[in-house]
């Protein structure tokens, strides 16, 4: 065999190796895999959380015993490249489960809303019954006998909370990633089309909208006739809940992603610039700001009159705007994107990016337990 033939064979062999490698690697895809960041939902001494493996985990909040076997949610995903057919993968879940006396609602990134029996985990209904919608990133809200949720198709959907039957839908101009908030007979919802909408919960008719300069992924806080909403234009807006007129606004250094919190006339607004801003609810006058040193995408909670906020780096702080004090209560050493949850007895539950569930005593900062959700 002469050199030219050898070289040619080498070229052909190399070509085959590269093509096979490429075809095989196309199975794995090149995109980041969505994993979810659902927060825990306490209820009746139990805890419900969606793991990053796409499972509903229901457990006793004290003993950590499972109430029933973890409930998996899966979807068929088209294969990447030329080599792979559809595969079954776990559903990423970003919205915090909503727990009622009968059902637990799970919103899936595969564009389905699941309603399961809260006591057994058995499926009660799924919406839509056939096919899938665009991804659901925000959570669901249950009120007035309906369940409301938005999806990346830009629609706010309203279903019968018990049966999952379609009630109405409202179309916005872009994706919806925020969780709807219901106050009175109105649903408040932000959209990537840069608008905050106030929609009649019974009919789905628009009452008013307010246009910001950026997309809205945060959920609105509605309290005392005022709607507080943060936007990607870095502003926090305080709007009149009745007509959407602007009361005041404040600009931070980065996006507002997490839902604000109000206590004793003070509004606490966490921002991705690493600060929690505190304002007088009526006037918008800034009371103080707490620099926590790391972006805050996790919605804070109120425990015994103290605001608890978590940073992306996994630090939990207690904040008191009245006394202008912040205190590091615990460092979890795991990143946090999920909203915090708190039980009636002052235990904070944190779902970390590493898919571990922590129970932390708010007062002392002691980690009561840490449960890996990976199965």
């Amino acid at each position: 065999m002469n050199l030219t033939r050898k070289s040619r064979l080498l070229v052909i062999a190399l070509a085959l190796v590269i093509i096979i490698a490429l075809v095989l690697s196309s199975c794995t895809g090149t995109q980041t895999v969505p994993r979810g960041w659902a927060g825990p939902a306490p209820g009746d001494g139990n805890l419900f959380v969606a793991s990053m493996g796409g499972k509903l985990v229901a457990l006793n909040a004290v003993t950590r015993e499972r109430l029933y076997q973890d409930v998996p949610f899966t979807t068929r995903q088209a294969g990447g490249g030329l080599s792979c057919g559809p595969t079954t993968v776990a559903v990423a879940i970003y919205g915090t489960p909503v727990v009622t006396s009968e059902l637990v609602y799970i919103s899936g990134y595969n564009g389905k809303l699941y309603a399961n029996n809260v006591k057994t985990g058995a499926s009660r209904w799924v919406y839509p019954r056939e096919g899938e919608m665009k991804p659901i990133v925000g959570g669901a809200t249950v009120a007035l006998g309906k369940v409301f949720f938005g999806s990346a198709d830009g629609k706010l959907h309203a279903l019968d909370a018990a049966t999952g039957d379609f009630q109405w839908e409202f179309k916005t101009g872009d994706k919806i990633w925020s969780t709807p908030n219901v106050a009175g007979d109105t649903v408040y919802l932000g959209s990537f089309d840069k608008k905050l909408y106030a929609i009649n919960a019974d009919t789905g008719a628009k009452k008013w909208d307010f246009t910001t300069l950026g997309a809205i992924a945060a959920s609105a806080l509605v309290t005392d006739g005022t709607v507080y909403i943060g936007s990607f234009d870095r502003y926090l807006y305080a709007l009149n809940a009745g007509d959407g007129s602007l009361k005041w606004q404040f600009m931070a250094s980065n996006w507002f992603w997490a839902k604000p919190l109000a206590d004793k006339g003070i509004v606490y607004a966490p921002s991705l610039d690493g600060k929690v801003y505190a304002f007088k609810a009526g006037s918008g006058e800034k009371v103080t700001e707490f620099d926590l040193g790391s972006p805050i995408s996790s919605s804070p909670v109120l425990v015994g009159g103290v605001v608890i906020a978590a940073t992306e780096k996994g630090e939990l702080y207690s904040l008191d705007a009245g006394a202008n004090q912040k205190r590091l209560i615990v460092q979890l050493n795991e990143n946090i994107n999920s909203p915090l949850a708190v039980s009636a007895d002052g235990i904070i539950y944190v779902h970390s990016v590493k898919d571990n569930l922590f129970a932390v005593e708010a007062r002392s900062g002691a980690i009561l337990w840490n449960l890996p959700l990976k199965s």
Binding site: G29, W37, G81
Partner: protein, 304 residues
Amino acid sequence: MNFGDIWNLAILSPMINVLIVMSKYLLNNFGLAIIALTIVIRLATLPLNVKQASATKAMQELQPKLAELQKKYGRADRAKLAQEQMKLYKGSGVNPAGCMVPMLIQMPIWIALFQSIVRVLAVVPEDFLSLSKHLYSSWSMVFSAVPLGSSFLWLDLAVPDRFLVLPLLVGGTMWVQQKMVTPATVDPRQQAQSQMMLWMMPLMFAFLTLQFPSGLALYWVVSNVISVVIQYYVSGWGGLKSTPKTSSKKHFHLASRAEEKPAEGGEAEPESTAATPAPQIELPKKRGLLDFQPWRDRGQKKKK
């Protein structure tokens, strides 16, 4: 500061912010922003690309001398041949591996562009959330401009092209570019390397296009077209020049026969065995279908 921080600071964050601003000023069209960015990057690296194109041309011009060396030393003294070839390259200021340099320089740009696309288009919530860390706080418009729209022509720039047009465009334009810069060489090993580059790179990138977001493939297509234009202005069509159709078949037969001869053990003189008007063409000793390079033959014809 670790490598990730340096990467973000020096490459990823600037690219993200520039892309957002460009998109804003280009009719809020992210596809146009990618095209504009490609042109800017290629303009910035123009001296390097022109130098590389010139080197390719010089390499092609060296071929007669390389052929002489091959004839002189042949298989008898491989070491001496290599030594003389290197001397020739050095004396002419040509670096045979120089063609890889622009590609190596572009690799960080591809990676950063891929990372930018998945972030600014809000493909996956985790990526989009991390975008906020890359935005320049003094550029207020970048905060409110995202997420960018992902539609461009028939494409969703966030996902691979479902209609397979982009893989064909990427592979095709890359093949043309490679063909233009493939030097006509008589060294069988170099021929093999050239053929590998000519076919492997387009095939590989066509496959990559099936997996990566269309936005990145759009960059590759535009970048390839610019390379072709630069190469054309420096050295003409180069290896893309084809022999007139009427004679191409005859040349092919000639090459095939030329390949058969040495297999019998003798020193081939293919021009004397051909019953066509091409006997005066000096062909390499071992050539096959993949090695057929008509533009070289035509160049030699002209000389005579």
